[in-house]
Each structure stands twice: as structure tokens, then as C-alpha cells.
């Protein structure tokens, strides 16, 4: 039965080379310098993404900033049923309902405010909506402003709704 020299110990007694520290230190130094040389020679293959120039590709399910969908005549699909507002765990959707002249529609949102600072981007509002009126598929994650008021967005802002949010 051939016995093998222990190179690495796992939670037991250390081998002589390990107790002397130095051979292991040099092995470690070799590993790191190999990484340095490889990265110097093949800089394009490093996993770092140069952010403003390169963006990460996300799946279709990625939950970005919300948008309100429109009917064919441009009015919001939302019937102010308050399901999204109730479902929201962060209590960030505030809807004030108004009466819609068309009796098959009945209600429409007079104001539809979302506090983007409170939002946890969980997607429950999107799941709760029965009319496909609110979606989180814009893919916008660069949500920044320099004052708190700008994060409190209203119906007009949310109706601005191409999928890349540019309109």
C-alpha cells in the first residue's frame, strides 16, 4: 500500500513545509504574481466592466423603474383599484381616484404618485395589478437626483413610457 507525502493538511497536524511558513508563502506569492502577469498581458479579459461605457445585460424579468401603461387613446389603463397601493410593502404608492365619464371604466387615477426612495423594487405592485397598468420593465436602474423632492414622481412622469424610458 503506497503512502503519499501529505502536501496540504486539512484541519490536522501541519506538515513540516507548512510549519516553516516560508515555502507556503512563496507558493502564495507565485500564485499572486501569476495573476498579475496574466492580467497585464490580457487586460481585455478581466471581468471588470468599464461602467459608463459598458452596461450589464439584464434579463427581461429585471425590475427597474416603474411605468404606467396607456390605452389606445393615451389615457392611463389604471382604474385606481388601489390593489398595487395595498400590496406595496413599503407603502410608497399614493393614488387619488377620480370618476371616469365612461361607465364601463368607472374610475381613473387623478394623481398617481410613487415615492421612489421608499420603493424596494419588489415587483408586488406589478403582480397585483389586474389591468397591466403598472409595469417595472423599463430596465432603468440609474435613478438619481440631488434633492429628495425629485424622487417623488407623479402620473405624468410615469406615463412617459418607452421601455428604455427615454420618451
Amino acid at each position: 500500500m503506497q503512502t503519499y507525502r501529505k502536501v496540504h493538511s486539512y484541519g490536522g497536524k501541519l506538515t513540516l513545509a507548512e510549519r516553516m511558513y516560508l515555502p507556503e508563502i512563496f507558493r502564495g506569492l507565485g500564485i499572486t504574481i501569476r495573476h498579475v502577469v496574466r492580467n497585464l498581458l490580457h487586460m481585455g479579459e478581466m471581468p471588470t466592466m468599464q461602467y459608463p461605457e459598458e452596461h450589464r445585460e439584464y434579463s427581461g424579468r429585471f425590475r427597474g423603474r416603474h411605468r404606467l401603461m396607456q390605452r389606445d387613446d393615451g389615457s392611463p389603463r389604471c382604474v385606481a383599484c388601489m390593489m398595487c397601493s395595498t400590496a406595496c410593502p413599503a407603502d410608497c404608492i399614493h393614488i387619488v381616484a377620480g370618476e371616469h365619464p365612461d361607465s364601463s371604466i368607472e374610475k381613473f387615477p387623478q394623481s398617481f404618485d410613487i415615492d421612489l426612495l421608499r420603493c424596494v423594487y419588489c415587483g408586488l405592485c406589478e403582480e397585483a395589478c389586474p389591468c397591466d397598468a403598472i409595469r417595472m420593465d423599463t430596465g432603468i436602474y440609474e435613478i438619481g437626483a440631488d434633492n429628495r423632492a425629485a424622487f417623488f414622481v407623479d402620473k405624468e412622469f410615469l406615463l412617459n413610457n418607452t421601455t428604455d424610458g427615454t420618451k
Partner: protein
């Protein structure tokens, strides 16, 4: 007299320029080097008019940030000591350089200027003493901050530094026995001889155990990973420099890197031959200056030319990659390197192969200074390399290592060296 003063001031200015100039480069090297070790890019965004220099502008941005930051002073700190601590640490770290020789001598006319600021009889004792003074600054900073965590950090740091100073001193003892003098110029000159006709008598060759012990001890002295428990980034937040902000923190920060440069210089001077170039002693260089100088010039042209060509190739390939001021950079740098290469090539018009003795002496001095600076830079990289390779020692492991392993080993080294010298 005037010449002596002027020469000393010039040497001090040169050394300050090298050390303080190396500090931003080291900050850059630490950030980029650690990034490449960890398979990421590191900082590459700070730029001046589109010139990024691979991130070299970032330390300048760091300095500007630290200059303009608000100097927060906690209410209950002990005023004088709190303000004094960072200055003490930085001042002490700069003092050590006074005795380190960075060259043999510079011969101008018939005046020989030794290239060391202060050629003390007790050079090594001076270094050890100054290194011990550094502990005061650390303890002062930690205690005066009126914060139990900084106090703990300072306590750990001072006990670590004191323990490893002993091993440091004993590790050098063997070297002193061999070269027979405490004077650093003599120790470095002694490393220029060849053992058995072919092996340069560098400290690491005649005292391998001493070299290992000294390098480890000096890592502990500078509070550098794997001995950076006092900084304990994940444990004590920042250790003894927690309560400092703005310029005082900048001084601690710079002091750490200055200590690193000093430690590299000490390792180089004591164990790696200082300014000696392995088989090219001064006599050899001066005798063959007609070959050595053109060879060095050709080497420079090759390196600068290669860099220039690579940069120009990249400029042509990546035209319009960014669409803004950053596009100019490879082309501009390629042109600058190309111009430098051409300037060196133009130097051939001065007939370097028929170089006179005065110029040969100066050339030899320049090569020696270049060798010294090169070795110091290599060891600074070594410090950075080790930091991002090894995990940190726990406090009890650290103290156990210092007292139970390194001290006995240093003593054994001393005994073996003494016996060897007595017998042979």
C-alpha cells in the same frame, strides 16, 4: 565648508524628492497592483485634460481631497498630543534616511562627495534607535484620541513594534560581525566583494537566516500585512488613526508609505548590496566605460522605443474608442516616449564610446544610484505583493511568532555566525 553644506543640502533634497515622489507612486502601485492580483482593473478614471496615465492621477486627487477635507477634532482629545502624534510619526520615518548610502561617491574635478547625508560611526544603532521612536507617535495618537478602540489599536501596535525590534536588532548582529563595523557605508562597500571569485557577498548570501528574520521583522515594524493588526481594517476599524481626518490623517497615511520606502531601503542596504551592481564594481565600470555607457543607452532606446511603438499602435487601433478627450492619450504618450528615445539616440553624437575618466566616474555613480533606487522600488513592490497574498496574523499568533520563534532563531543565527567567523 560652503561646499560641504551645499553638497549636504543637495543630497537631502535628492533623497526627499525620491521618497516623497515615491509615495504617490506607491499609492498608485498599491491600488493597481492589488487590483491586478484580484483580477480587477483598479482605478482608471481620474484624468487631467484626458490624460489618465493608467490611474497615476488618482493619488493627486487623493492629496487634493485630503487637503480640502474638514479637519474634525473630537471634543475630549488631549490637545497637544493629538496634534503632535502624526507629525512625530512622519518626522521619524523621514529621519532614518540620513544614514543610508545611495551611492559610492560623486567625483567632480578632484572633489569626492560621499553619497550619504551623514556617515555616522554608529549608523545601524541610529537606525534602530529612530525606528523605536516611531512607536511613540503611534501610542500618542491612540491614547490622545480618547477612544477605547484607538487605545487598543495603539497598544497592540506598540507591543508588536517593540517585540519585533528585538529580532530586528539581533538579525543585523550577524551582519555586523561579518563586516566588522557599524558604519553603513562600510557594510555596503563590504558587500561589493566576490566570494570564491564568483558570488557577490550580499547580505542575503552570507546571512540567509538573518535576511529572512530581518525582512519579517521589518514588515512588523511598519505595521504592514501580515502584521497589520493595529490597522485591523476589519477589526478595529482603523486602529490608532481612527479619530484623525484631513491633513493629520494624510500625514499618518504618508508616514505608512514612507516607512515602507525606508524599510525597503534598509533591506536593500543591509542585505541586498545597497548600491552595488552584482558583477560591475566601480573599477570595472570605469575601465570599460566605453562599452557600458553605450550599452545602457541602447537599452534605454530599446525600452523607450518599444513603449512608444506599442502606444502608437494602440492609438491607431483604438481610434475614437471613447469619443472624448481620452482618445488623445495613447498618441500623446507614444509621441512623448518617441521623442525621449530620439533624445537618447542623439546622445550618441557625443561619442559615448570614447568617454573620458571624469565622465566615466559620473556614469558609474549614476548607475549605482540607479541600481539602489531600482532595488528599493522592487522591495516596495514586494511589500505590496505580500500584503495582498497573505492573511493577517492574529494578535496571539503574532506575539508568539515574535518571541518564541524569531528571537531564538536570531540568537541561533548570531551564535552560528560567531562560531563560523572564529573557526574560519
Amino acid at each position: 565648508m560652503i561646499e560641504l553644506a551645499a553638497a549636504t543640502l543637495a543630497k537631502i533634497a535628492f533623497l526627499l524628492a525620491v521618497i516623497l515622489g515615491l509615495v504617490p507612486v506607491l499609492i498608485w502601485a498599491e491600488r493597481k497592483g492589488s487590483a491586478f492580483i484580484q483580477d480587477r482593473t483598479g482605478p482608471n478614471r481620474a484624468s487631467v485634460a484626458g490624460i489618465r496615465l493608467g490611474g497615476l492621477v488618482h493619488p493627486i486627487a487623493d492629496v487634493l481631497k485630503l487637503l480640502f477635507k474638514e479637519d474634525v477634532r473630537p471634543a475630549q482629545v488631549h490637545g497637544g498630543l493629538y496634534a503632535l502624534a502624526p507629525f512625530l510619526v512622519f518626522f521619524v520615518s523621514l529621519l532614518t534616511y540620513a544614514v543610508l548610502p545611495f551611492g559610492d561617491y560623486l567625483q567632480v574635478g578632484d572633489q569626492r562627495f560621499p553619497l550619504v547625508v551623514a556617515d555616522l560611526d554608529v549608523g545601524i544603532l541610529y537606525i534602530l534607535a529612530i525606528a523605536s521612536l516611531g512607536t511613540y507617535g503611534v501610542v500618542m495618537g491612540g491614547w490622545a484620541s480618547n477612544n477605547k478602540y484607538t487605545f487598543l489599536g495603539a497598544l497592540r501596535s506598540s507591543s508588536q513594534m517593540i517585540s519585533y525590534e528585538i529580532s530586528m536588532g539581533l538579525a543585523i548582529m550577524g551582519l555586523i560581525l561579518i563586516s566588522g563595523s557599524l558604519r553603513l557605508t562600510e557594510i555596503v562597500a563590504d558587500q561589493g566583494r566576490l566570494l570564491w571569485g564568483f558570488l557577490p557577498a550580499w547580505g542575503v548570501v552570507v546571512q540567509p537566516l538573518g535576511a529572512v528574520l530581518f525582512i519579517t521583522a521589518v514588515f512588523a515594524e511598519t505595521n504592514r500585512n501580515p502584521f497589520d493588526l493595529p490597522e485591523g481594517e476589519s477589526e478595529l476599524v482603523s486602529g490608532y488613526h481612527l479619530e484623525y481626518s484631513s491633513m493629520k490623517f494624510a500625514l499618518f497615511f504618508m508616514a505608512e508609505y514612507t516607512n515602507m520606502v525606508i524599510a525597503s531601503a534598509m533591506i536593500t542596504t543591509l542585505f541586498f548590496g545597497g548600491w552595488n551592481i552584482p558583477w560591475l564594481s566601480r573599477e570595472v565600470i570605469e575601465a570599460n566605460a566605453g562599452v557600458v555607457v553605450p550599452a545602457v543607452m541602447v537599452l534605454k532606446i530599446a525600452v523607450l522605443g518599444a513603449a512608444s511603438l506599442l502606444l502608437l499602435r494602440r492609438a491607431a487601433r483604438e481610434k475614437g474608442k471613447f469619443g472624448d478627450a481620452r482618445d488623445r492619450e495613447p498618441g500623446l504618450l507614444g509621441v512623448i516616449f518617441g521623442v525621449l528615445a530620439l533624445l537618447v539616440a542623439a546622445g550618441f553624437a557625443l561619442k559615448p564610446w570614447a568617454i573620458g575618466p571624469q565622465a566615466a566616474s559620473v556614469a558609474a555613480t549614476l548607475l549605482q544610484v540607479g541600481a539602489f533606487v531600482g532595488k528599493v522600488v522592487f522591495f516596495c513592490w514586494f511589500f505590496i505583493w505580500v500584503r495582498w497574498t497573505l492573511p493577517r496574523f492574529r494578535y496571539d499568533q503574532l506575539m508568539g511568532l515574535g518571541w518564541k520563534v524569531m528571537l531564538p532563531l536570531a540568537l541561533v543565527n548570531l551564535v552560528i555566525t560567531a562560531v563560523w567567523l572564529a573557526v574560519f
